[in-house]
Structures are given as structure tokens and as C-alpha cells.
């Protein structure tokens, strides 16, 4: 069950980076989740909550060095460095919004209805699970040689039916 969600999380995120921001990514070998943020260069962290057949939170942590290219590519800017901090954060929030919106139907199927909240930029410590959260899946990618980690947390459990082998199969070819 964990492996399936890890795989979906990785595949969907790779596809969204490519299609939304023209950035290419690859799974990071030997990934070990870094719950404790690095003091030397803290990651930029964004989160989005969702409710539906199961509820939870998707968290994305990535190197701040990725933000200028992310925003510049999404905006079609001639100079990535000319993008403003607000544009960079907004681009990141849109990125996790699109990842989450494409991820949930892949897990639960296209008949499931989810309400996805408004993405927020949070402190790096917020990437760790809250007391009521359970880690459902995680992955790490190298995006343009910079690290990007994602964690999917469930709140209140996740129905077993979403882990049947045919669940979400219709959507699995979308990427």
C-alpha cells in the first residue's frame, strides 16, 4: 500500500513539474525523509489540506534555489531572477495545488469527490506530521539537481478500498 502511493506521488509530481513548469525531475536514489530541516539552507515548504473519501495534507519541501526557475518558467519570463518573491511563492502554491488535484483521483479513482483547500507557505518545521496525522506516502525527487520532497499525510485513516489493485487504474495512464 505504501509503495503504491509512493509510486503515484512520484509519478504525478514528475509529470506536473514537466507540464506546468517545463522542469525535469528524477526519483532520488536512497531517499531518506528529512523530517528535521537543514539549518544551513532551510527548504521552502508548502502545504495543502484536502477533504473527501479520505482527508489529509500534502506537503512539499524543496530547495529555495528552485523557485526562480519555477516561477520564471511558469510565467514565461525572460529573466528568472526578475521574478518577485510573491510570484515565486505563488508559483509554488499553484504547483502543489495542481499536484494534489491530480494525485487524489489517482489514489481514489475518478468517481471520488475531494475538496482541496488553499495552499499555504509554512515554516520548515511544519513538514513534520502533526499528532493526528499518519504518513501515507512520501517521495523525493531531484529537480534540476535540487532536492524536492513530498509527503502525503492522512487524518483519521484511509479506507482500505482505495488500496485495491484496480483502484484509480483508469487514471494511471494519464501521465
Amino acid at each position: 500500500m505504501r509503495e503504491r502511493i509512493d509510486h503515484i506521488l512520484s509519478r504525478v509530481t514528475e509529470a506536473i513539474f514537466e507540464k506546468l513548469a517545463f522542469m525535469f525531475s528524477f526519483p532520488e536514489e536512497g531517499f531518506e525523509p528529512e523530517i528535521e530541516p537543514s539549518a544551513a539552507e532551510p527548504p521552502v515548504v508548502t502545504e495543502v489540506f484536502f477533504e473527501g473519501p479520505f482527508s489529509g495534507r500534502l506537503v512539499m519541501s524543496l530547495s529555495p534555489r528552485l523557485l526562480p526557475e519555477l516561477a520564471g518558467n511558469m510565467l514565461g519570463a525572460d529573466d528568472n531572477e526578475a521574478t518577485t518573491p510573491d510570484q515565486r511563492y505563488d508559483a509554488l502554491k499553484e504547483l502543489i495545488n495542481v499536484v494534489c488535484g491530480n494525485l487524489l483521483p489517482e489514489i481514489a479513482g475518478k468517481q471520488a469527490i475531494f475538496n482541496v483547500g488553499t495552499p499555504k507557505i509554512i515554516e520548515p518545521e511544519g513538514a513534520a506530521p502533526a499528532a493526528e496525522e499518519t504518513l501515507l506516502g512520501d517521495t523525493a525527487l531531484l529537480v534540476e539537481d535540487e532536492k524536492c520532497e513530498l509527503r502525503l499525510y492522512g487524518i483519521g485513516g484511509i479506507p482500505d478500498r482505495f488500496f485495491q489493485t484496480d483502484s484509480g487504474a483508469d487514471a494511471s495512464d494519464a501521465f
Binding site: K19, A71, D86, E94, N97, V98, N102, L104, Q111
Partner: protein, 132 residues
């Protein structure tokens, strides 16, 4: 005929992406207006002639579905062409939105999808693509 467009999305980056895509589409565009939620969108509609609304669904203050309902309920606005651009993945919810007379484009989108969907929904001809 020049098309005046209203882009409604709470993400300024997404509004810019859609506006830029529209500008590069080769479509006969007039002015492109922007709004950050459904309420702001309705305010733009009250003061400007708009031919096409491109709207997200999940937005604070007023979401896209409520905005569409209010547009369709207004005799002066009810015939405006509407395209939803959203991450929505539920077939049931997408069908419900389409029954309100809106085309649907899933994020992430390609410029060609937007161009062809606009041509299709506004009967501009030359479209060879669907609206999904």
C-alpha cells in the same frame, strides 16, 4: 470580432499563464481582465463587456461554481461563454459543471487545448480538439 476575456483565478501566476497563453493563441482578443475570486469577477462583469470567462473552481471568498451560478442567473450575463480551468478530478463534479453550460480544461493544460476550446465554445471555427 474582438473577444474580451475575464480570467478568474486566485493564483496570480496562473492568471498570468492563462493571459499569456491567450495572447499567443492567435485568437482575435480585445482586453483581458483579471480577478482573484468569483466576487471580484462579478464586479468586473458589472462594469465591462466580457465575451468569455475563464474561471477556476477552488477559490476563497467566492468559488468558481457559485460565480457561474450567478452569471447564469443574470439575464444580462447568462449567455457569456465560460471555460473552467481546474485541477478538479471528479467525473461527477465535472459533469455537473458542464451541465451549467461550461467547457472544462484540466490543469495542467497546453496552450493548444485552451486555443481549441475557445474556438470550439465560441464557434470560431478551425477547432479539431475536444474540451477535456
Amino acid at each position: 470580432m474582438e473577444i474580451n476575456v475575464l480570467v478568474v483565478d486566485d493564483s496570480s501566476v496562473m492568471r498570468a499563464m492563462i493571459s499569456k497563453t491567450m495572447g499567443l493563441s492567435g485568437l482575435p482578443l480585445g482586453k483581458i481582465y483579471q480577478a482573484a475570486n468569483g466576487q471580484e469577477g462579478l464586479e468586473v462583469l458589472s462594469g465591462h463587456w466580457i465575451d468569455l470567462i475563464i474561471v477556476d473552481i477552488n477559490m476563497p471568498v467566492m468559488n468558481g461554481e457559485e460565480m457561474i451560478d450567478r452569471v447564469r442567473a443574470n439575464p444580462e450575463l447568462k449567455d457569456i461563454s465560460i471555460i473552467i480551468i481546474s485541477t478538479e478530478g471528479s467525473d461527477a463534479r465535472i459533469d455537473r459543471l458542464r451541465r451549467k453550460g461550461a467547457a472544462f480544461i484540466h490543469k495542467p493544460f497546453t496552450p493548444e487545448t485552451i486555443r481549441d476550446t475557445v474556438k470550439d465554445i465560441m464557434n470560431l471555427g478551425g477547432s479539431d480538439a475536444g474540451t477535456d
